[in-house]
Symmetry: D2
Subunit: 337 residues, 4 copies
């Protein structure tokens, strides 16, 4: 059994995490190469993780025969063309979300994937690989909660990271595209349905800077899905308590809540503040094992010749929905899909 | 200090509870008379609570000199005219919600109240008198959570009472008027603002019977309030776990959740089902002390010559909003107030 | 139905609370008289609660024909003789714990009670009247948790009241007699059994002052009960978070925990301290309704000619056990009952 | 950097888990060999994990030059002599608890370890490597909870595994040695102190079979530690809800609780049973990452030439204490260390 040789692209915070995971925690895989434009960062990471091949150029990396697959953690604007180029070079591709920075780009990515049916393509909707979300999904799929009535999902980033969020605002696409996409993916996955209408609102409650991009620091939307399920999504940048990703699925026979308390760990503290649990700080902490599991799934798909459960069409569909939410928000109107 | 002599009208489940409370738990008050069309129920309750005067006719009761105030727990359709008649007879009035079964009726009630400025009128939004809601409101009013971003409130009745809900459906006005009014009242109370837009959806997920009245068994709406606050309300008849009234107020500096677990009491059970808390069964259990507190407030207002915090205009405003939510639901459209 | 006319003795914090409850929240009862040596306190309370008869002398009060029953919230050292005197004067008696300040005194109280079989005597073990403890007890009695294996109970007073606790230390009898008696009562009530052995330890962890009285600021003991049940009790004066009374009963088929989080109310706060619940401040807050319920039970027993579930022998037995725990602690030895 | 070549001994449930972890999740290590007397199990596991060298004989395995270290997950009775033999053969040793089946054996193990100061020896107290226990320990060590007052720790195995526990009873050494050793280790680690006295009780509450070995199915003990800290330990075989390992450390300035609800994951279920969390099933589920972390620490110590935080003396000391608890239980007496 040969190991899947992976070239990892992009060494931002999540990129480094993926590289570390591939180097140390993913079975049947080998971190064969790293690629980044920051030569110092590249050298430091490669040295630390024992990676022999480093590339400043993505094109050079995918030209290498020693690589079977690429993991793209590059800037969002590069995703579509890197996906297409890597597939054209015969490499399996795992790409962080988004698939592209416009629906048109997503469609291009679809074409590239369709042109290479023998290669594995997978998009990084890591929440699907979190043990708690998986456990809940099995229960829903098994009919344990009956018919889904309301799907509610929150994505909240801590206020303490607001400066980074403001700096990134010009390029993020806004809260619906940058944050709510994960909730949209979950809504489709849990309900097995698609949205029919959406109304979206929000505002700059604390940080007027987001207004420059026709965005709010906290936004929400209410969607009616085709199977009748109500879907309420909330995305915010000012969480006072920590990184809060929570989901509730109300069914006719049962209700599931995932992470309604964003607990850091199993420690409970009793002191002058009351009885309390400290919270997860960020996505890397909360989804630590989900990030491992998703890459493992990608590697297993490559190694076993399977297709991942997350397809390129999921990426396009989620983007289309997020853009429609954004449009509803900007126009202040009800939109029918 | 003379006790406030109260005539209580209507001996349904909540009516009996109010009568018991007035007889036994309300200070500065005396349960002086009971009124109901069911003579047997009247006799039994009067005997049990030691009430000497019983009336089959509301008009006769309010003609009595021995009564200072009435508590109306009669069918909704009678509220407006009973309010007007009681005030005209010089009695202070506490009325259960709704103020009337149409906005026009609410306006009539307003006029009746305005015509008797010396009499106390109070509407039964009991949640405002629940200790936990009061505690949360004080924190919000004190600015402890900063600016309100999202107000989310649920009213869920247990599936096990569905037959009663279906039987009552022709007269209930639908989920927005029968259930969500309490959440609408809370939203206005907590945010200090009024709605600007509303989009409402829902369906009959388990019980098609509600469809006959253009209603769903579970419905929700998303409102934008004038101060920018997002408001998401959910009302359902099929709660699998019990009576669930919960509210979350997300602010820029803190978040409050009231009763996110609808615990019956402080007992936690560890058995083959896991670690669990049993749930409140119904509104009488959950709001046991709130029902006492609200009547106490009414009596104190009468005794001390004060005006209650809940005015007749709150009743009208909440009804207007609920009718607008209902219209948005029936039309499937976005409505601007 | 005549109301039970009660004379309430002692206007400390709990005494005032009992007086307020009798005046306003207890059915079939009337607060007929108050007794305290502090004339100003007496006057203020009587005025506020509308009580016409005030006594500086206990003996004079029980000589009054206008009183049916007394509620003793006087200093512990007076309990036994006041119980005897009140019974001798033909009054029903409710006494706060302890029954006496020595086992000999408890035996005297027993004799006084036995000499007046037609009068109601009840001791104030209020926890038995808390809804959550009652709910748990019903489950245990119904066999829902199988055979009791371990009974664990904590009584913790907040550190912020430490000055009062230190001032009271010369007269309190120590933590086992002042605090753990409630847990001992619960242990006997839940297990239906009696202790066979006890080993007790503890120390002055923060406040050496308690050492003067051969006591610790935090103590614990492990008892083996005759039915085999293990009983672990902990009593402490330095709780950092609030007033914490919690109990766990581990059975062979289920486990119950009562108030394992000493939550103040149903509000959950999410802020920079994490996700938290604030805590009860003191016994008056935590056992607010239990204090009402126990007096209601006393009044109902008087009115209906019933005997209370808590007998004088429970008082003696609990005292004997607490003194034995204290002896085990002081001697550092294992004691067999 | 060469990888540490590990030979893993014993393919019971935990042995297989350790082998899988070493093969797939431990960095800087290689699963070089497997050893078990069950040839079929050996073949199956080796094939699945890609291990080329298999041994039916422990002696042959440690004679191999291709192995740097051994991980002992063999029957408890073999630990001491395998530790000694492996060290004598120049191998680093990680051994599951216990160090030996008697204090005399533990002392032999100490001598073997002392005779090879250049080799790493580590004992498997995995709880110290659980993230939540580590987080709590840092807080305690940093003084955040003040002076430790009470250390309480539970080890409960689910009733549903009782048949295996009964079958293993003749060889387990009893609940104190088989279960409470982990809690004893934690007590010493968190308090930094040693026991001075112990009183132990318990019984066969559901399963008389344990009585044959002078043991109970549920036992507990109360210890006074030299620094004054009270320590209460409980070990049981009949947990109705799942695998429950919880710890509470009450300090003068704060209280920490670790895993007071033994939640399976972050999913909360609301259904006819109330609001509930399902529980961990067994130690492999609860301590999944702790088992990885402890072997990683062992490997890092070998690779970096460090000594582990858990020494051979910890193993001896914990055994001595557990045997003393057992003696106190069997004799029904208070024992001073």
């Amino acid at each position: 059994m040969n190991k899947v040789k992976i070239g990892s692209v992009g060494l931002g915070r999540l990129g480094v995490r993926h590289a570390e995971n591939i180097a140390g925690k993913i079975q049947r895989a080998e971190l064969a190469a790293l690629c980044d434009v920051d030569a110092a960062k590249l050298r430091e990471t490669a040295g630390r993780l024992g990676v022999s091949r480093c590339f400043g150029s993505f094109e050079e990396m995918i030209a290498s025969k020693d690589i079977d697959a690429v993991v793209l953690v590059s800037p969002s604007g590069l995703h579509t063309k890197q996906i297409a180029a890597a597939l054209a070079a015969g490499k399996h591709v795992f790409s962080e979300k988004p698939l592209g920075v416009s629906v048109a780009e997503c469609k291009e990515a679809e074409k590239a994937v369709e042109a290479h049916p023998d290669l594995v393509f997978m998009l990084g909707f890591m929440r699907r690989f979190d043990e708690s979300y998986q456990y809940a999904h099995q229960k829903v799929a098994a009919g344990e909660i009956g018919r889904p009535v309301l799907f509610r999902s929150y994505s909240q980033d801590p206020e303490k990271f607001i400066e980074g969020a403001i700096a990134f605002a010009p390029h993020s696409g806004g809260q619906f595209l940058d944050m709510a996409v994960h909730d949209i993916d979950l809504a489709r996955w849990f309900t097995g349905s698609e949205p029919e209408t959406v109304y979206a609102i929000g505002d700059c409650y604390a940080h007027p800077e987001f207004g420059r991009y026709k965005d709010g620091d906290n936004v929400s939307c209410l969607l009616k899905f085709k199977n009748g399920c109500m879907v309420f999504l909330f995305a915010g940048r000012t969480a006072p308590h920590g990184y809060n990703v929570e989901t509730e699925i109300i069914g006719t026979k049962g209700i599931l809540r995932i992470a309604s308390v964003p607990q850091k760990n199993l420690v409970e503290i009793l002191d002058s503040h009351g009885v309390r649990k400290e919270c997860s700080e960020n996505f890397l902490e909360r989804f630590e094992s989900a990030y491992v599991n998703e890459i493992q799934e990608f590697v297993d798909c490559v190694a076993d010749g399977r297709k991942p459960v997350v397809s390129v069409y999921d990426g396009t569909r989620v983007s289309e929905i997020a853009y429609t939410c954004k449009a509803a928000f900007e126009q202040g109107s009800l939109i029918t899909f």
